[in-house]
């Protein structure tokens, strides 16, 4: 506090000096000066050196880029020379409707998004409930469960390719103990998406656990006690009292999980050595890169990118609105 007061005093001194300085150099009539002064002193102008440069940088690379992408998706650009912006149309979007691969990719994207998010939330919640009590080494357990989160998709893809190996992969050896398999996990169109989701849950359930642990810790202890006094058993207490209070954590965790699921491209790229995943694992992201960088159908690729953007907007817009209404923004 003492240091702070000293700071305030020095600030005040500097300000007084500054004022003298300004009086000496200001030109113009008193009225002009005050309008200009008021504008220059307004908080929006005063704070703009802080937020404007990052805003411009982000605005250019994110929002201007999306606008440019939208424009490209209306052209017939196929990679030679400059795009022809004079003849814009919706033909790429029409072509999408007739593209059977597009339907498969959209379906797979939704299966991946929803399957991954839901399973991750459940596993993460269970982990958090297990660890949210007096446990020896609880920090070590937490650290180990979160460890895969520190790795990149490219790295985890290497581990899981090996786990799913048809000949001697651990997964097949394990289910072999129960007389099942072997399955070609990554080669079978019916199994591949489930196998990918399982691996991604391995990587990200620790993240969900951390979010839920933080939320559980913020629930006051007496709520557990009150529930117990009422004679509720453990399971009931969790179901009726604790879980309902985890709603905000669930919302924010799912938003981030969806974000990770949209990046699953990296995982698929590394698992299948390129942007041509086995049948059954093609998602909008892989299809987009394949059309653009693989087949030079740049305009068509851009229109798929816009689809993907719309999907993520559909997830994020309600979240942002909700946060705004709750005053969290």
């Amino acid at each position: 506090m003492k240091r702070f007061l000293a700071l305030l005093r020095s600030v005040r001194r500097k300000r007084d000096e500054g004022d003298e300085h300004r009086v000496r150099t200001d030109g113009g009539t008193a009225e002009e000066r005050s309008t200009l002064r008021r504008w220059l002193d307004s908080d929006i102008v005063q704070s703009s050196p802080f937020w404007l440069p990052p805003f411009l940088l982000m605005g250019f690379f994110v929002y201007a880029a999306i606008g440019w992408n939208l424009l490209l998706s209306l052209t017939e650009y196929s990679g030679f020379g400059d795009p022809d912006y004079s003849n814009l149309g919706l033909h790429n979007y029409r072509a999408m409707l007739d593209d059977p691969g597009m339907w498969a990719a959209t379906r797979n994207t939704f299966v991946l998004l929803i399957g991954f998010t839901v399973v991750c939330l459940i596993v993460g919640l269970l982990l958090a409930l297990l660890l949210d009590r007096e446990i020896r080494f609880s920090r070590s357990f937490r650290t180990i469960y979160l460890l895969p989160f520190a790795l990149s998709f490219i790295v985890t893809a290497q581990f899981w390719r090996w786990m799913y190996n048809v000949n001697n992969g651990i997964v097949n050896q394990f289910i072999g103990l129960f007389g099942l398999g072997p399955y070609n996990w990554l080669g079978s169109p019916r199994l591949v998406l489930g196998a990918v989701i399982f691996a991604l849950v391995w990587q990200f359930s620790g993240y969900t656990m951390i979010i839920y642990l933080a939320a559980l810790r913020s629930i006051p202890n007496d709520q557990y006690e009150a529930a117990r006094v009422d004679g509720a058993n453990t399971l009931r207490m969790y179901w009726r009292v604790i879980i309902p209070q985890l709603r905000p954590a669930t919302v924010s965790a799912s938003v981030v999980l969806v974000l990770f699921a949209l990046k699953a491209f990296d995982f698929l790229y590394a698992t299948f050595d390129g942007y041509r995943p086995r049948r059954g694992a093609d998602i909008l992201a892989t299809k987009m890169v394949r059309e653009s960088f693989g087949r030079s159908e740049w305009a068509y690729g851009s229109s798929i990118a816009i689809m993907l953007f719309v999907v993520s907007l559909a997830v994020i817009a309600p979240y942002l609105y909700n946060q705004y209404k709750r005053g969290n923004l």
């Binding site: 704070s47 920090r139 790295v155 949209l262 990046k263 590394a270 890169v289």
Partner: protein
């Protein structure tokens, strides 16, 4: 059977009071340790695979270490390191500057949008936050065009490439630095904002009323208080940018580019017509993951903190 369930339930509900060893406790720890196995098995399997000779690879289960010393080899690690070393250097060259830039710009943006109040702030802030959720696919074609056709940094900066330590492919590194910074700013802004929102408004209000400029409040009050958050952001962004792949694929393009990042090289490592060289890939995976694993182990708590917010 039903008797057993009752005991477990009772044990679970009374464990806080007794603190002794019960069936519930044993079950709990067995589950926790089983889960440790589940989360470590793929990593452990990768590690033992990377040091096996081809014969040991045939003879042993994928999760078991080589049976004898003759089955151990570090050859794959050496080969992987040779391939990855330039990529590791490139990754460091773009990860560290963009991490630092992200942290500085994000903290400034969060301050300008949180602790200084003005109308329309929410709209700008919403654009920042929505920027976190833009899938990279939605921008890679324009990005690719912007850097390769319109900017052509490598030609524009040709006067630099004669200088010592600078090489032509550093233009690509510079492109990656700028791109990663632009995409890191939104999330970092949100991280700093979450802290600045809880900061005592009174202190800042008092300083402002006493005439301290916006800049002065930032430098003298806000910045010193946000040093712990800077640590969190450094750790978080370093991991994110180091692990990123799609921008590398788009901007660098080919594994053979001298600017290729570690993740890009790893994605094509040990791939041939005969199949995949798994031991080589595993060794490569560990080398690539080393920096982030190190950060994770050394700063486990800060890392978790960064994930939470």
């Amino acid at each position: 059977m039903s008797e057993k369930t009752v005991t477990t339930e009772q044990a679970a509900s009374t464990e806080h009071e007794t603190g002794g060893i019960s069936i519930g406790h044993v079950g709990l720890y067995a589950t926790l340790i089983g889960l440790v196995g589940f989360y470590l098995l793929p990593i452990e399997s990768g590690l033992v695979t990377s040091i096996k000779t081809p014969t040991a690879l045939q003879e042993t289960f994928p999760f078991l270490p080589p049976l004898s010393a003759s089955g151990v080899t570090v050859e794959k690690w050496q080969v992987a390191f040779e391939y990855l070393a330039p990529g590791m250097v490139n990754s460091v060259l773009f990860t560290i500057p963009s991490t630092i830039l992200c942290a500085i710009l994000g903290s400034m943006a969060a301050y300008g949008l949180t602790l200084v109040n003005w109308r329309g702030q929410i709209a700008v802030l919403a654009l920042f936050i929505a920027g976190i959720f833009v899938p990279y696919q939605a921008v890679i074609v324009p990005l690719f065009q912007f850097w390769s056709q319109y900017m052509q940094l490598s030609a524009r900066l040709s006067f630099l490439w004669g200088l010592p330590l600078l090489e032509r492919h550093h233009a690509t590194i510079l492109e990656l630095i700028i791109t990663h910074t632009a995409y890191g700013v939104p999330i970092v802004t949100l991280l700093f904002r979450s802290q600045y929102k809880t900061m005592s408004g009174e202190m800042i209000e008092a300083a402002r009323l006493d005439g301290a400029s916006v800049w002065r409040v930032y430098r003298r009050i806000v910045l010193p208080l946000s040093i712990p958050m800077f640590a969190v952001v450094f750790i978080f962004q370093f991991t994110q940018i180091w692990n990123e792949f799609l921008f590398s694929l788009t901007i660098i393009g080919s594994v053979n580019n001298p600017a290729a990042s570690a993740t890009l090289i790893l994605s094509g490592l040990g791939q041939s017509l005969e199949g995949t060289d798994y031991p080589l890939r595993m060794a490569g995976a560990f080398i690539t993951a080393l920096p982030t694993l190190l950060v994770y182990v050394l700063f486990a708590d800060k890392f978790a903190e960064g994930v939470q917010t």
